[in-house]
């Protein structure tokens, strides 16, 4: 039964993807892309309504009929309200997410509600690629419907809300999702309405930071000089501010005098950058090397030292800051994985 259901769901998803074509974010949920079906409870209710109707007709009871018809009409009205709960909602999403293996990737979805009705009980499900297991790293943690993760919430009238969907990331790699689904069972759980959005979400799953090797020699020296510097900060000059440099290095006085934004640079941090090298890790297999490199990146980043990354086929020149770290981690995540066409 459940495999039948799963097969039907996959068929439907593929059909919806063909029907609507690829979407570009943000997506406004149009009425033609909302699907609705009764839930199992809704079917039970419908059967009960039929029983009610037959009983009322048999007893020739006009009051019974009135009650049965009121309940049936309530069901129809509920269907419209369930559909309306998604209608006209505007969805935007962060299409890229970062994670570590054995951790979780978080995609953020922004739901904007321009109408004056509150949207409640909206669930977003990120769906694994059609057949499952095609994209590397997928196939883990999927359930019967191919859902990889879900998040729920509501949106107040004339405002927006952020939903976070966490997806378990078991293995290093690049996780590509081609579809996500908005669904709701509001108000009574008699119906569920849903809508598919075809846009690719990418999660870069970096290796888990593990390893026992010490930093390369150049880095060791940098580390030592760093501890020296802690005592007396050895001011060596000013250089232009770049995003990512910690604010505590900001030359506020220069800025206050009306100059350009600048940062103080110190002899220690200005020390020659360390290179985190693939080739320095002889004797380890690929994943362990990547894990070690990941650990080094995180350590260097925490110590606010400039660092560069050299892995086969890619070289990232030394720099500092969050964007650089993300770049390096993504390089590790994508290592050895063919880019999709």
């Amino acid at each position: 039964m459940s495999t039948l259901r799963q097969a039907a769901t996959l068929k439907l998803r593929a059909w919806a993807a063909r029907r609507h074509g690829p979407d570009s974010l943000p997506i406004t949920i149009h009425r033609r892309r909302i699907y609705i079906l009764p839930t199992r409870f809704g079917i039970m209710l419908a059967l009960m309504l039929i029983a009610m109707l037959v009983a009322a007709l048999n007893y020739n009871s006009n009051l019974g009929l009135a009650f049965a018809f009121l309940m049936a009409s309530l069901g129809v009205v509920t269907m419209h309200h369930c559909n309306r709960n998604l209608l006209g909602l505007c969805v935007d999403a962060t299409t890229e997410a970062d994670a570590f293996a054995d951790g979780e990737a978080r995609f953020e979805f922004l739901l904007r509600n321009d109408s004056s009705v509150e949207r409640r009980d909206i669930e977003i499900r990120c769906l694994a690629a059609g057949t499952g297991g095609r994209g590397s790293g997928s196939g883990d943690g999927t359930d019967a419907g191919g859902t990889m993760g879900s998040g729920g919430g509501g949106v107040q009238p004339k405002s927006s809300a952020t939903l976070t969907v966490t997806i378990p990331a078991a293995r290093r790699g690049v996780l590509r999702l081609h579809q996500f689904e908005l669904r709701t069972r509001y108000p009574f759980g008699w119906f569920h309405a849903w809508s598919y959005a075809q846009c690719s979400l990418i999660a870069y799953v970096a290796p888990s930071p593990l390893g026992s090797r010490a930093l390369p020699p150049g880095a060791e020296r940098g580390n030592a000089s760093r501890s020296e510097v802690r005592g007396d900060e050895d001011f060596s000059g000013l250089r232009p501010y770049q995003p990512g440099i910690p604010l505590k290095h900001m030359a506020w006085k220069v800025l206050a005098r009306g100059g350009e934004a600048a940062v103080r640079s110190y002899s220690s941090t200005a020390a020659q950058p360390e290179w985190l090298e693939w080739s320095s890790l002889e004797g380890l297999d690929t994943e362990d090397r990547l894990s070690q490199l990941c650990l080094w990146i995180l350590e260097s980043d925490a110590a606010q030292r400039p660092y560069g990354l050299r892995i086969p086929g890619q070289e990232i020149s030394p720099a500092q800051g969050a964007a650089h770290r993300v770049n390096c981690l993504r390089a590790l995540a994508a290592y050895g994985i063919a880019e999709p066409q």
Partner: protein
Amino acid sequence: MPYRDLQGICACLALTLAAQVASLPAWVLLTVVACAGIRLLLARRGGTAPPRSLRLGLAAVAIVLLFLQLHTFNGLAAGSALLALMAGLKLLETQTTRDIYVITLIIYFLSLAALLEGDSFWMLAYLIGVCWLTTATLLRLTTAGTTGGGAPGWRLSLRYVGRLMSQALPLALILWLFFPRFSGPLWHLPATARSAESGLSDTMSPGDITELALSDDVAFRVHFEDAVPPPHERYWRGPVLHDFDGHTWRRSYSAPLHAAKLRTEGPAYRYTLSLEPHQHHWIFTLDWPVQWDLPRAALTADYTLVQPEPVSRPINVQATSYTRVQAAEPLQPMQRRRDTRLPPDRNPRTLQLSQTLRRAHPDDMDYVRAVLGMFTQQAFYYTLTPPRLAGDSVDEFLFDTKRGFCGHYASAFATLMRDAGIPARVVTGYQGGTFNRFADYWIVRQSDAHAWDEVWIEGHGWVRIDPTAAIAPSRVEHGLDAALGADEPLGSRWQRDTPWLADTRLRLDALRQLWRERILFFDQDSQQKMLETLRIPQPDGQKLVMVLAAALTIALCWLTWTVRRELKPTPKPPLVRHYLRLCAKLAAAGVPRMPHEGAQAYAARVARCRPDLAAQVTALCQRYNFLRYGTAPAHITVRQFETAVRAFRPKFKPPRPALRPPDSHAS
């Protein structure tokens, strides 16, 4: 499962069962209450459901008990009891929302079951209220699990469900009006458990009718199609009593379902009688019925209309009666024997009296007049509080107490007739009625209950003699109130004596009758009449279904519109609408406004791109800015702005390529 929601669902179940307290076995109710109590206690302590084996055992025991008591699971009462038990036992094991779903379904169905045999507006309103509450609880439950913000509050939930129900109302109304009704049940209904009998019974002892006279309950309502019989002919025939044991009169069940033909005289009275359920087989009719529209009803040999099943639901009867009839056939010897029989050694003084009178009046009719004359000449009183009679009740009444109600007189008169060898029987029923002048019908209450006699006079047949009319003529002409002294303990007399209160009662009763006729008895005929008023030629079932489909289509369109209407953003103020129209015109002319541009910047850009429009656009945008943000001079109004925008008709020109910003132009 939040404790509060569990409480809510228990409350809803209790409210539904409250509507069925009378029809469910007490132990079923107790079981459900106990289950709910145990579950709530467990939930309060944070515990889980009791073990599975205990629950299953309990369920098995309950179902066996139920079967032992009712011997069936078929039928309304058994089905309701079974459902109630299931809901109670389900409560014991509620862990997930799915269990609650099942309980809500049971609540809905139990509500319907309570309505199937009910007839009251208040019951319908109450049960709709219960379902409202149940659905609100359901809303809280379904949203609590998934929404980050938690379930909406009770007030909000109730308001939301109320709105949904009000949107469902038009649809439900259309379905109710146009859904084809069937003339009979789809299959045979199992007999329902009989509730308490009310009104007249098939025996009459002295004092029986007195109790009825104190009751204000409605026995039936009558609408006369055309002529209304005069008060002294308004006798409503009920069970006829033949067998007398000296104290109590009883109905004879040997009477076959065959009534001898009658020769009718005088006008025929056609009427519709709306009978309240009384759990007896007989149906009251105006004396003497000749035609009626109940297919299964028939006349007994003593002209009481009876049907095979007891009247357990309100029914409507259309009938025709003649108040003046003559028997066309002679009295059967068996009937004569039965209606002259008396217990041999009871009421000896009455026998003596009758023999004396009979000797003086050998003619039957003379004898009847003499007995009636005795009642008027001697000091007999008509009273609701006669002394208690024991033993030979007729003797004591005629010679000692001389105070009695209609039953005493009817009993004594019939005894005197039988002592003289004249066939006589006691007829019970109702006499009179109150006219409701706010709607054209008569109300006959239990306080109108009456007993009179019929005697067989050769050449005339059965002749109605009402000895009460001889003692208290105003009882027959004006009703019980007029006939009784002011000190009689007649119930709610003060209400009838206060005119405005009496009027209010009548108005309420008219409403009740309207409810009954228009709602409870809405059937095929009513639907056909409805189609006729809609001017649909030759209405039949097929056309009804077509009208239903058309009305449903309209209602569903309305529903879609009304549900989605709220999604539309609130309309912008007129000024902004006019400004947006200006922008649209300019966009059509090739200069669309950028999202970040204010009116002034836009005007400046238009002036650069399209010098031909510069003057107009600058003036318009300036006016807009004045109206929107500044204090506009008196001569600038929104209306004026609107006409200016309307009059503005820019021509399209392709945009000039590579328009450079002004500052780079200067350098």
